[in-house]
């Protein structure tokens, strides 16, 4: 696509205007069979974004039995500018979510994580890169999504993981996500969205073992404007690296259905 057309497309798309300064331009990733940058492999975010996208101090967890294992580590936020731009009534809801997070967080119930949260859950995910589709399979809850790399499709139904259209801008995989339901959260701190969520992700190779991940988030029902998160993703370089299986449903059943056990059994 000629540069002029790209620029025109950029002007039309509010998310694309905020073209971020990404990884070092000098690095050229190895090529996939179709000539695009090869970002296949097993990746994982480090850090504490899944605990809270914003800056957060360490704090105790809700279950004393778990001692320090159940505590929340502190961490720097990953939101550009530091704060998520909530509308006032949405901020109140976020605070209510936070107060009830150990009960309400969809992760507690082993529900699908949505986007962008799937990327920075504390579990690895694998990219299987083909020309027409790119599969992202997540260890957490056997979640997966398939990014359509052909003619963009419109979301036909709202889902947890959304509908994804991707394209390449140089070595950067750009994924446009729409068609979400309003049920997933962004983190364990109660950050949330509505069914108007629109996420544009950018995966940019930084070197052989790192991707730069950015997600620009738009949801006019919840936020006053666009906001952006970014973090590195680390390649799992162990020789025998393989996605493990974490089917967490069975670890949430007592929580979800425990009150419906037959009274005499345990």
């Amino acid at each position: 696509m000629p540069a002029a057309m790209l620029a025109a497309w950029g002007l039309m798309s509010p998310l694309a205007v905020q073209r971020p300064a990404t990884a070092k331009a000098a690095y050229r990733a190895p090529r996939a069979a179709d000539g695009h940058a090869d970002i296949g492999g097993i990746w994982e975010a480090l850090g504490t974004a899944n605990w809270d996208l914003e800056d957060h101090p360490s704090m105790g967890g809700p279950y004393f039995q778990m001692g320090s294992i159940g505590a929340v580590p502190s961490g720097r936020g990953v939101v550009e500018g530091g704060t998520i731009p909530y509308k006032p009534e949405a901020l109140a809801k976020k605070q209510e979510n936070f107060a009830n997070r150990w009960k309400l967080d969809p992760e507690v119930k082993c529900y699908m994580p949505g986007i962008p949260r799937a990327t920075y859950m504390p579990y690895p995910f694998q990219i299987v890169q083909s020309a027409k589709v790119i599969l992202m399979a997540y260890e957490y809850a056997s979640t997966n999504r398939v990014i359509n790399m052909e003619k963009p499709v419109e979301a036909s139904v709202d889902t947890w993981m959304g509908t994804q259209n991707g394209h390449w801008e140089g070595d950067t995989l750009v994924v446009d996500n729409t068609g979400f339901n309003n049920l997933s959260w962004f983190d364990r701190a109660g950050d949330f969205h509505s069914d108007a969520l629109h996420v544009v992700e950018r995966f940019t190779p930084m070197d052989a073992s790192h991707l730069n991940y950015e997600a620009t988030i738009e949801d006019p029902k919840v936020f006053t404007g666009l906001w952006k998160i970014s973090m590195p993703l680390y390649r799992r370089v162990e020789k025998e690296a393989q996605l493990a299986e974490f089917k967490c449903v069975e670890y949430a059943e007592e929580l979800l259905y425990g009150d419906l056990r037959k009274k005499t059994t345990k």
Binding site: A33, S130, L135, E245, Y257
Partner: protein
């Protein structure tokens, strides 16, 4: 073939298509990926096998395929079923048809079911032993089956009384592969050194590393077991061969939706073969080895089909598992009523 093109003609054409595909299978050259592997990629469905019995009805004996007459009869039945559902404003894979064709399809049984589009030739999905029947269970497996059935058939005391499928956890590899009432989509994505197989129902993804034939990297240690097993793949000519071990025994069985004759053991080994036989069909084969459960190995085989417009939708089973809540609360209400 599209239904809207006239389902009256379906029966006749189906026969021709099957015969034609058998002929072309000899001379057809399968496509390769740009890095030289056989190309199995795309979205496939086992919907057309929905009307084939899992085990062979006794009347067919050792015969694997229907006669022309029997096939014409089955094709008429498939056509009749299609005519009926189309008459109700429903199209097979109704979500797709509703969106693409403006058909006002309701989302309720039988409407949310998927249906065969083309009649299938096989007399059973089990093809070996030659009688198309699952070999007898071992004594241990029979005892396990009796224990499982007792729990399944009682008023549920907890979610643990229900199958892994009811609990939206997994149907296992075999349960994911066999045709059922809906969600029969399988999507295959390939990259150098890896084949990923994604099943619609329960949203499973298997990521299969590829090795040279006879040079497979070792399986995970026996202490590391999973519901979907540890898969290793290689190419034999144009056939993808996948050997999967390290299953968790005592849970799912080798059968529809993971409900087999009895739960399989830790020793289960599945060998699957995927062979693209023409533009629209992959011949799928699964051999079951589990001497603790079955007195002999056995094999299931059937084609999975590419159908234009067929697509996989998100299957958020656990997230919407009202059935589990409802059946447990109903059970407790029955308990309470009996106490009165």
């Amino acid at each position: 073939m599209r239904l809207k093109e006239g389902h009256a003609a379906t029966a006749a054409f189906s026969g021709i298509l099957v015969a034609a595909s058998l002929l072309f299978a000899q001379s057809w050259t399968p496509p390769k990926t740009s890095w030289g592997d056989p190309d199995l990629q795309g979205t496939w469905t086992s919907d057309d096998q929905r009307d084939v019995p899992f085990e062979r009805p006794a009347q067919f004996g050792n015969r694997r395929y229907l006669t022309d007459e029997e096939f014409a009869d089955r094709a008429r039945q498939v056509d009749k079923a299609q005519t009926e559902i189309v008459g109700q404003g429903i199209r097979p894979n109704s979500g797709y048809w509703a969106r693409q064709q403006g058909v006002n399809a309701a989302a309720a049984p039988p409407y949310f079911q998927e249906f065969s589009r083309h009649a299938a030739r096989q007399t059973s999905l089990v093809v070996d032993p030659p009688n198309g029947r699952v070999p007898p269970l071992t004594k241990e497996a029979q005892e396990l089956r009796a224990a499982v059935n007792k729990v399944r058939n009682r008023r549920p005391e907890s979610w643990l009384d229900r199958s892994m499928y009811d609990r939206c956890i997994t149907r296992g590899v075999a349960g994911s592969a066999f045709p059922v009432i809906y969600g029969n989509g399988t999507q295959i994505v390939q990259a150098p050194g890896v084949v990923a197989i994604r099943y619609e129902m329960i949203h499973e993804t298997r990521i299969i590393p590829l090795d040279r034939p006879g040079n497979a990297r070792p399986h995970a240690p026996a202490t590391l077991r999973t519901n979907m097993g540890d898969a290793r793949g290689h190419w034999e000519g144009n056939t993808l061969v996948v050997e999967t071990t390290n299953f968790i025994g005592g849970r799912n069985g080798v059968g529809v939706n993971g409900n087999g004759a009895a739960p399989y053991s830790d020793d289960l080994k599945l060998v699957e073969r995927f062979t693209r036989v023409d533009a629209k069909n992959i011949q799928y084969e699964m051999t079951v080895n589990d001497p603790k459960t079955y007195t002999a190995p056995w094999t299931v085989a059937f084609p999975i089909t590419h159908e234009d417009g067929y697509q996989i939708f998100e299957y958020a089973c656990h997230e919407g598992n009202y059935a589990m809540h409802n059946l447990l609360s109903a059970a407790r209400a029955e308990d309470a009523a009996e106490e009165k």
